[in-house]
Amino acid sequence: MLRTSAAIAAGKLTRAVAKRRGGGSALPGLVAEKVDPKILGHALGGLPGGIVVVSGTNGKTTTTRMLVALLRAHGLSVFTNPTGSNFTRGVISALLGEVGLRGRPVADVAVLELDEAHALKFADAVTPTHALLLNVARDQLDRFAEIDHTAKLLAQLAARTSKGVVMNRDDSFVARSAEGVKTGVTIDYFGVDDSIAHRLPELMEQDTRVDDEYVVPPAGADDILLRPVDERSLEILVGPHGAGGIVGPVELKQRGLAAMINATAATAMARRLLGSRFDAATAANALATVTAPFGRGEVIDADGAPLELVLVKNPAGFTVALSTYGSTPVRTMIAINDNYADGRDVSWLYDVSFESLREVGVSLTSGVRAYDMALRLQYDEVPVADVEPDLESALDRFLRERDGQPARIFCTYTAMMTLRRRLAERYNLPAFGEEGS
């Protein structure tokens, strides 16, 4: 315990310094972890409501926000890692803000967003009581090399969870990991209702591991199912036709099918955690208040007209984003970097179809790989008005030339960070890491 206290003190000091300098969400965690590698276990081990890990390729940040909102609306105090730094060090950094030197956070339950590899590292330190498994898609193969490998990581996470696993019934990579779940651990499923099952192929990766094609089983009475009402509103059904209850209709602040699936996943986990305390009306109200995380469909009021910032990380995510926004075409810019956090290989752009942009065209491509993006669009016969690799010049020009009209920027992670910083200066927005939770 002495060691934990020392680690927390060292981490808190680093955090104070880092905050003053305005950055570095993982560094304080790194320092604390160096002083006491078991700090996580000590600090989180005793939470009465358990430790929930949210993992998968797409939607972790949004789903985590929604789950936290759902639990808080039901009166629970929740510890979470809200800055989107989904590595163990990010968790420790977040923890440092909320614990005393004895190392116990004042919370009922922890809800943590962790990427697939770090979720396992985390499980080495602390056994998660619950895991919410979203999906497996191709993402930053530099780091994970193959999606089969990513699927294995999630299956291992499921196998190491002690109380309950909630998983995506429509994703074969995820659903197949049910086999490894320990006996006595509950398994709940979320997915989409029959009415939109035809849209699943645009969301799912091809699973080539086994000969038999994955067939989604008929929904069980306790499965949590998404039924969209229109582009922004949805209902969440318990069992087919909502025989076990219905949450909603709810209008989300974020648009599109991906956000709706995230809401469904979060609701399934909240229902498992809360049991009989779960209240459909409370849940619907909570989901309606959740705002988009930074850069993930975030709408910025830029000189009186909306500017949407849409993070794109991989083919599945970009495809869903294009179909989400396809019905309301506006002036568009696409910014592609190839730093480590973006994925250094830009090949993935060829696994996305850009045909929906053909009619309005793209005003500007930007980022380190601006010309590669323009070339990609050319092969889908999407007109590209101009190319400006420098992000800040591109943003200035894009805002100037849009004549007060709504506009949208699709961007990779580090491009988003640069653009978001510029926009924060310009429009006086909260900076990264200062986001209210």
Binding site: D142, E146, D148, R344, D372, Y379
Partner: protein, 241 residues
């Protein structure tokens, strides 16, 4: 009026195209159309009959699981691929398919799996992956792409390489060679995908394919490759200084 029909065969688009290699096929059909030809695309899946006409054959990279699922079919269509190759049909095989077009793949455990043997290369399974952006010097100028492979490939004594590595690992990270070329058959580790980013190489493949289909030499149209040239030369400048 069309200058002629060119049949393009994409081998195993479902199992072997995880790194955007579909972009190569898209590039070839689009460029054929822009040059004034009529592309006819055949997607060849395991178990299906190989198309009667094939003037250009493309194959991509896959995961180990995908590779395992195409091996049986590859054995069935092997005689056809060998005779097409001997007749000068251009073929471009990326990564996993490059390895399968070689003589053998030796797993980390030492198990020797025979390949098609159209290219005289042998690949040794390797615990370490070779990952990163690549610049090559080739017969078609500087070629850019992205490699991501764990296999380490060695050329046979008389086997020509596709290019020399200017930046990156190449076949094995040691001898400076990248890929292989025998006649009009090319194997390479380069994703990116390689063809949209390197239009000179793309059109060279078309110039081999067209006479097989029409009996007349390739008559290129006037294509605007400004974006591709900018993208390519910027990568070369970034990586080779």
């Amino acid at each position: 009026m069309s200058k002629g029909e060119i049949h393009v065969v994409h081998l195993y688009p479902r199992e072997m195209s995880i790194y955007g290699d579909l972009g190569n096929t898209r590039t070839m059909t689009a460029r054929l159309a822009r040059h004034g030809y009529t592309p006819v695309l055949h997607q060849h899946h395991p178990g299906a009959a190989f198309p009667d006409q094939a003037h250009l054959v493309l194959g991509g990279g896959g995961q180990d699981s995908g590779q395992a699922r195409v091996e049986a079919d590859l054995e069935v269509i092997a005689p056809r691929l060998r005779s097409l190759a001997a007749a000068g049909t251009p073929m471009l095989m990326i990564c996993g398919m490059y390895q399968l077009f070689g003589k053998a793949f030796v797993t980390v455990e030492g198990k020797r799996l025979p390949g098609l043997g159209i290219l005289d290369v042998t690949t040794q399974g390797n615990p370490k992956r070779m990952i990163g952006p690549v610049v090559l010097s080739t017969d078609f100028g500087d070629v850019v792409g992205y490699e991501n492979h764990s296999g380490s490939t060695t050329l046979g004594a008389d086997q020509a390489a596709f290019g020399r590595v200017r930046s990156g690992f190449g076949n094995n990270g040691e001898d400076g060679s990248e890929g292989a070329r025998t006649g009009n058959v090319f194997g390479t580790y380069l994703h990116g995908p390689i063809l949209p980013a390197n239009p000179v190489f793309a059109d060279a493949l078309l110039s081999y394919a067209v006479p097989l289909a029409t009996g007349a030499p390739f008559e290129p149209g006037d294509l605007d490759d400004t974006f591709a040239e900018e993208a390519r030369t910027r990568q070369v400048r970034r990586l080779v200084s």
